[in-house]
């Protein structure tokens, strides 16, 4: 056991950091329980989700449901809030970012939600499985026109994006590679689902049409033969550029904000050592995503990268809802967060703006949606009757947290994170604590909570 692991065993701040990144945050009570484990054991727990640790599917089917996209996203939010398999849900969101597929074109909510279920199922597996499943996915096939990719009349849309946005990145293939990749995926289509009327969405599934497949010789990244889509994916996964591209995506999503993807061919990673180590794990393991994540989460770079990422709207909203505790059991009302709250902040789940997905990092924030983000957090936290807020208040009132303004601030920051703030922020919080001395304690704690989630620091994970 390393020295850092021994320290991590009791380091709530590190656990909180891990859960903000590998999940959607954790309540203080959850952190207290997790602290009994070594950090590495917690990472392994997250890397190896089990059905028993997730939200029971039969309960999801019993209480949640509906035809509209927001009905599905409400269910997904519930899992984000309540599943112990936090990384499983986070990886589904990660792949949704990378393999962005939009309802604006597809219009088939069942196919869209089935794609997310696929990411939940395979998101921690290996890159070959993930890309093969993706290439079989009806929502993706329709989104990038592979159903229009015919023998003798290839449509290059999927072949191009598979290389550019999904696996290798610009500069690591040629136009000829794109054309031949497209030919290799001819005949990869899906079964025609019956229309929405009169009996609702029906599922569709991958269908290979051998009559529509180009069996001619193709050369792709230096390899020649009668290549089909599976062969193309095999070759892709062997490429060091694939290892590096996916590792950098994972770094950007989990560790620290990188510049937007189109610049990656020109701008090196900010942490080349970690990205190299992740890439090596990718190549050594044959593209195992767990192996890459294991290296990443256990690295010092990750552990030190606290509050280096702007929370996505989904991360912000789910983190707040988790803290407030109104949805830690099935109840109505989650849909609105996916249908409108995250949307006004710039993220409509199941419907990313383009195949590039959402631009992340500081691009999440402008004057308008910063107001939305702050107002949302303050509004939710401000309901002192919420069970999660009551737990925080009770925790603070039990001890001597309010014995001094400084102690009050430290306790608040500890209770909702622990989180770290810059000195000017801390000074402002201390001033409020000082000015409010003598007020009703419960009201004072709730007001301090509202002030704390309105700080710039709370926008960062």
């Amino acid at each position: 056991m390393s020295t850092s692991a021994v320290e991590a065993r009791t380091d709530l701040a590190l656990l909180a950091h891990l859960y903000r990144r590998a999940g959607f945050g954790a309540t203080r009570e959850q952190l207290d329980r997790l602290a009994a484990r070594d950090y590495e054991d917690t990472v392994e727990f997250l890397l190896n989700p089990t059905p028993e640790a997730g939200v029971p599917d039969d309960e999801i089917a019993r209480y949640m449901g509906g035809e509209a996209p927001h009905a599905y996203t409400a269910t997904w939010l519930f899992r984000m809030i309540n599943s112990e398999c936090q990384l499983q849900e986070k990886m589904a969101l990660f792949w949704h970012h990378v393999f962005a597929t939009g309802l604006a074109k597809n219009e088939h909510a069942l196919a869209a939600s089935s794609q997310i279920e696929m990411f939940r199922r395979n998101g921690l597996s290996d890159m070959r499985t993930i890309l093969l499943d993706l290439s079989h996915d009806p929502a993706m096939i329709f989104w990038l026109d592979n159903n229009e990719n015919h023998n003798g009349e290839p449509n290059e849309n999927y072949g191009r994006e598979l290389l550019e946005l999904f696996s290798l990145g610009v500069g690591n293939y040629t136009e000829i590679d794109i054309k031949n990749a497209a030919r290799a995926f001819t005949g990869w289509t899906f079964t025609q689902p019956t229309p929405l009327y009169p009996h609702g969405y029906y599922p569709t599934e991958f269908r290979f049409d051998p009559e529509d497949h180009d069996n001619g010789e193709k050369t792709f990244l230096g390899k020649t033969g009668n290549l089909d889509g599976g062969d193309i994916i095999d070759i892709i996964v062997e490429q060091p550029s694939c290892a590096r591209f996916i590792s950098r995506h994972l770094y950007n999503f989990f560790v620290a904000d990188e510049p937007q993807v189109p610049t990656w061919n020109d701008l090196p990673p900010q942490d080349p050592e970690l990205v190299d180590a992740m890439s090596k794990a990718f190549l050594d393991s044959g593209g195992e995503i767990r192996a890459v994540l294991r290296v990443m989460f256990n690295s010092d770079s990750f552990k030190d990268a606290r509050f280096k990422k702007v929370k996505s709207p989904t991360e912000l909203v789910v983190g707040v809802l988790k803290m407030v505790g109104n949805h830690d059991n099935f109840r109505p009302g989650l849909a609105k967060y996916a249908e409108s709250t995250t949307v006004v902040m710039g993220q409509k789940l199941l419907d990313p703006p383009t195949v590039e997905g959402w631009h992340t990092g500081k691009e999440w924030i402008d004057g308008g949606n910063l107001t939305e983000r702050v107002n949302f957090a303050v509004g939710e936290i401000g309901d002192g009757s919420s069970p999660g807020i009551q737990r925080i208040v009770d925790r603070l009132l039990e001890g001597d947290s309010l014995s001094s303004p400084e102690s009050f601030v430290d306790s608040i920051l500890n209770a909702i994170g622990p989180i770290e703030v810059e000195e000017p922020t801390r000074a402002a919080l201390v001033k409020f604590a000082t000015d409010s001395e003598g007020d009703d304690d419960r009201s004072r704690v709730v007001r301090m909570l509202r002030l704390t989630v309105a700080t710039p620091e709370y926008q960062f994970a």
Partner: protein, 339 residues
């Protein structure tokens, strides 16, 4: 009317489909009006929507009532609907922990219940059923019990606790009362049906987890017809199973839907869906998808809310009552003897 000595089961064919998308989205419950009127109330629920569709056996839309909200007279997560002899309907709401009643025009009448685990309180009320005196048995799902009330909400009695023993429950859902007054409960997470006397004395149980005949995957509802036949809505297996009154498995209903009358009328004026439909394999359209509830009437109709397909599938029982001289005494063993 006494139960028949025996039954010649001539058949149980599919009869018709009622409803379609936009009219009966996600039907979760059905309450039948007075015998012979063909009137019914179909309870529909999905995320953000809750309403009652007044409907007819002739597939005619009679309008809706119901509105989403927390206030009295509104619904959030309705589960079950039953109709009394005056066609007032009672609706359980598992989000609001109360039972609301409306007249047949949808005017709110009253409600009772509140969150809790005491007498008359609920933690996610689910299935409901009237007895012959129009007292209401209500499954109090997360309290793992059954409570009996007068129609005005006056508590009468209750039984059950959490567990998998006799008279224990694990998140029970549907319930029915037969013409003899016995009570049947769909013990959802125990994958079984339990039968009780009117006062809650345990009588029998049947079913276990699985997908074979006689096994269940989260049964949601149960109904009993005047012959004593027991129908179980086996939602996780996308089917309804029929048992005789001794709980011997008889047959199952997987769905045989055709387009409803109102569905055909819609499709006749929509060219694109007709073309897409023509390109698709249609067989899956026949089958039940996550059926949620069932109802039977004296005419032998079996109504299944085919929740995932926005419709109700109706079957017609064909059974002839047998007298003792037409039905040999019970046999102890199976036989290959032919007569």
């Amino acid at each position: 009317m006494a139960r028949p000595y025996g039954l010649l089961r001539a058949g149980f064919p599919y009869l018709k489909t009622l409803g379609m998308r936009r009219l009966t989205n996600f039907p979760v419950g059905i309450a039948l009006g007075p015998e012979g009127t063909g009137r019914m109330f179909i309870l529909c629920r999905q995320e953000g929507a809750a309403l009652v569709r007044k409907y007819s056996f002739d597939d005619e839309d009679g309008g809706t009532f119901g509105e989403v909200g927390d206030e009295e007279g509104k619904l959030q997560w309705p589960v079950s609907i039953i109709a009394d002899s005056e066609e007032n309907v009672y609706i359980s709401d598992e989000a609001l922990d109360r039972i609301s009643s409306f007249d047949s025009d949808g005017e709110f009448l009253a409600c009772f219940g509140e969150p809790g685990s005491g007498e008359g309180q609920f933690n996610r009320p689910a299935g409901m059923a009237f007895d012959a005196d129009e007292n209401i048995y209500i499954v109090d799902s997360m309290n793992h019990r059954v409570q009996k009330f007068a129609k005005d909400g006056q508590f009468i009695l209750g039984w059950g606790s959490f567990g998998d023993g006799d008279a224990q429950f694990d998140m029970p859902w549907g319930i029915t009362v037969d013409e003899l007054g016995d009570v049947y409960v769909a013990d959802w997470r125990n994958d079984r049906i339990q039968k009780f006397s009117a006062d809650g004395e345990f009588v029998m149980k049947f079913g276990t987890s699985g997908s074979a005949d006689g096994e269940f995957n989260r049964p949601t509802d149960v109904a009993v017809d005047l012959d004593g036949d027991i129908y179980v809505c086996d939602r996780g297996n996308n089917r309804v199973q029929l048992f005789n009154q001794e709980a011997r498995y008889v047959e199952k209903f997987l769905g045989a839907a055709t387009l409803s009358k109102i569905g055909r009328e819609y499709m006749m004026t929509n060219a694109s869906p007709n073309r897409i439909r023509d390109m698709a394999v249609l067989e899956p359209q026949k089958f039940l998808r996550q059926p949620r509830s069932i109802a039977v009437d004296a005419a032998g109709h079996l109504f299944i809310t085919d929740t995932g397909s926005y419709r109700v599938q109706v079957y017609q029982k064909e059974a002839i009552h047998l007298e003792p001289h037409q039905f040999a005494p019970p046999m102890r063993s199976v036989t290959l003897h032919q007569e």
